[in-house]
């Protein structure tokens, strides 16, 4: 108890986490009960309970159809799960990038990870390798690999005399990104009938998600987030400026690299299954900072929950606003995110970054 009193941030984190976890649950409940198929709220929950071993015996499977069960268990739930994981990953990566680079405009794609992933994905689609060596996993694996390769190139470019300057790595990111972007445009130009598929991937979507996607990406995102969380005390010190960090005895260089690599890894994993969903990674950390201040120890978990909730909400809107059409989720995140961000900017006149 005494221990806790000395660390008020733990209490604050737990309080906010409880609040935001409830938000996440509310979002998930809303999401699973919403969709173009006409299934009543009650039926949805009967179906969910029917799928949980403990409750199965109480439920009467004849009160719903096979199609309804499939829609809930194999279409809506995996999608919600993946939305939560991707949203969480992008938000955490956003916090890390903004903290390490000390730049409020930083987002998870700033080092070119997304363009690398997009290039890999476009190449797979262009060459018709969707069923290549790794079956349905060929595209995500290639996207992830090319994202990591891009990161490696950026890192290598920025490494000068065994040191990495943050300005240099940002510039390296811009350079590599524009080069890879040109390569991507080239692929698009020669892609003929595949163009639609590539554009669809670029816009980002959680449609046709499978449970497997979530299960494979989740460990990466969660582990990466935990590692970043482990360094949040150092992130706070870095935020004060490089000089002071040195004086406190923080190995700024090495920690920054670890954080950048972890954040890029998370981003790469998220992008490889969902495409490039914009805005979440940049906006969510700002919203969280507005709510809880800039202590990264609190900011990180809060951003994680917020990111998950926001992406679930965005995806639910994406598939229900123009029902039965689907909209690209990136459209929704930008539509929601930009005005909200503008509102925050006006509300908070003093500088809060």
């Amino acid at each position: 108890m005494d221990n806790l009193r000395k660390r008020p941030w733990i209490i604050k984190t737990m309080g906010w986490s409880a609040v935001l976890l409830s938000l996440l649950v509310v979002m998930a409940v809303w999401s699973v009960s919403t969709g173009s198929a006409d299934i009543s709220f009650l039926t949805v929950w009967k179906i969910i309970a029917g799928g949980i071993p403990l409750f199965t015996s109480w439920m009467d499977p004849s009160s719903w159809t096979d199609a309804e069960e499939v829609i809930v268990w194999q279409i809506r739930l995996p999608r919600i799960f993946l939305a939560a994981i991707v949203g969480m990953g992008l938000a955490v990566a956003g916090v890390a990038f903004q903290g390490v680079l000390r730049n409020p405009l930083a987002d998870p794609y700033i080092l070119g990870v997304s363009s690398g992933a997009a290039f890999g994905a476009a190449l797979v689609i262009l060459l018709g390798w969707q069923q290549g060596w790794f079956g349905a996993w060929t595209l995500p694996i290639t996207a992830f690999a090319s994202a990591m390769l891009t990161l490696l190139i950026v890192y290598r470019l920025a490494l000068i005399r065994h040191r990495i300057e943050m300005d240099t790595i940002l510039l390296a990111g811009v350079v590599v990104q524009s080069f890879v972007g040109a390569a991507l445009s080239f692929i698009l130009a020669i892609s003929n009938e595949h163009m639609q598929q590539i554009v669809f991937w670029l816009m980002g979507s959680l449609a046709l998600s499978k449970w497997e996607f979530g299960w494979v990406v989740a460990p990466l995102v969660v582990a990466g987030s935990l590692i970043i969380w482990f360094f949040t005390r150092e992130l706070n010190i870095i935020a004060l400026g490089e000089e002071s960090a040195y004086h406190v005895g923080v190995e700024v260089d090495r920690i920054r690299i670890v954080l950048l690599v972890m954040a890029s890894l998370i981003t790469g994993a998220a992008v490889s299954v969902s495409g490039t969903i914009g805005f979440v990674g940049m906006i969510v950390p700002h919203i969280a900072r507005f709510l809880v201040g800039s202590d990264h120890r609190i900011l990180l978990p809060v951003s994680a929950f917020l990111g998950a909730s926001l992406l679930i909400a965005a995806d639910t809107l994406a598939r229900s606003v123009m029902d039965p059409r689907e909209l690209p989720i990136g459209v929704i995140t930008a539509f929601l995110g930009a005005p909200f961000f503008a509102f925050l900017l006006r509300r908070r006149k003093n500088k809060y970054f």
């Binding site: 194999q74 279409i75 018709g128 003929n192 029902d323």
Partner: protein, 331 residues
């Protein structure tokens, strides 16, 4: 060191400019040659066409095209460039194949198009079109700005559009009027109507409540064809019900909607560039409850013939109807 680098750079610069110059000269030479050959070809064509078009020569003609532009054609066109595959197909069906001197990159039907000059795809290479010296350019509203550009360059551009079978007949007649091939057009339309009627007759005894539900998948991302598309019209003509009939145009449908609708037959139009498209649908875990998947009624159909407003639409109609109601065609 520095100085040597500098001179090396200069050497490279010189070499590069030389190379560029050579390419330029070679390019000019290339372009000149087809123009040289053209007159001879033209003569041949004129000779062969003279006899058949004499009876119907009614030039000059004035046609208000799909872009609302009054196209005046002074003489029977002898060098036609088609910048849109549907027009190429129609032109070939009208027996104008020999007069076509250029087609778009997308063109793949009939086979003879492979021997024609290519004038670009998404972006039309106006220079290339000009160099072919066409006296008629066939285009579609989707060609957009290029239409105006070609007109400003002094070319006769005929914009053709059709959104249903009736309009395709009209399109064929318009093209025939512009090219002096009315007789061939009448025969072609007659032939198309015959196929259409044959299919409609074959499915005529399918009862209203026994109509099958069809999901047409245009891409694996669940893009489909709603109301106002040829696919929707053909499904209806084939005596079936389009699962996506409630939406307009080409849209992405939500997966759960398709499963809820429970289609009896699934047709894909992307089998030509995605290997095993139909098999992949059959393997979708969530789709195992769908009747079409359970009964194995998932087929790849030819994409071009259902999307291009041309003479092959009726073939597509027949193909679709045979997949949807195989028993109606067995007898």
């Amino acid at each position: 060191m520095n100085k040597r680098f500098f001179s090396k750079n200069r050497l490279w610069m010189a070499l590069l400019s030389l190379l560029a110059l050579m390419i330029l000269v070679a390019g000019c030479g290339d372009q000149a040659s087809p123009a040289d050959q053209a007159p001879a070809e033209e003569q041949q064509q004129q000779q062969s066409q003279q006899s058949e078009s004499e009876s119907q020569s009614s030039f000059p003609v004035t046609i208000t095209d799909a872009s609302g532009y009054e196209v005046v054609i002074e003489e029977e066109p002898q060098r036609i460039v088609s910048v849109i595959p549907s027009a190429t197909e129609t032109a070939f069906a009208l027996g104008l194949g020999d007069r076509i001197v250029g087609v778009s990159d997308w063109d793949n039907y009939p086979e003879e198009v492979n021997e024609k000059e290519k004038i670009g795809g998404l972006e039309i290479n106006t220079e290339k079109v000009l160099s072919l010296e066409p006296d008629l350019v066939l285009a579609h509203p989707t060609n957009g700005e290029a239409i105006g550009v070609l007109r400003e360059l002094g070319l006769n551009v005929l914009v053709l559009d059709a959104n249903n079978l009736e309009e395709v007949y009209a399109l064929i007649n318009t093209m025939a009027k512009a090219t002096g091939s009315q007789d061939q057009a009448a025969a072609l339309i007659e032939q198309m109507k015959q196929v259409r009627d044959e299919v409609v007759k074959a499915v005529s005894d399918v009862p209203q409540d026994g109509r099958k539900k069809v999901w047409v998948e245009v891409s694996a991302e669940l893009y489909t064809a709603g109301k106002g598309t040829f696919i929707d019209e053909l499904i209806t003509l084939a005596g079936a019900e389009n699962v996506a009939a409630e939406v307009e145009g080409w849209v992405q449908m939500s997966e759960e909607k398709v499963i809820e609708k429970n289609p009896d037959v699934i047709l894909t139009t992307y089998g030509y560039y995605v290997p095993d498209a139909a098999d992949k649908i059959k393997q979708r875990e969530a789709w195992q409850v769908v009747s079409a998947v359970q009964n194995g009624h998932v087929y790849n159909i030819d994409s071009d013939s259902v999307t291009r407003p041309g003479p092959r639409l009726v073939n597509a109609l027949k193909e679709m109807a045979q997949y949807i109601y195989p028993e109606q065609f067995e007898r």
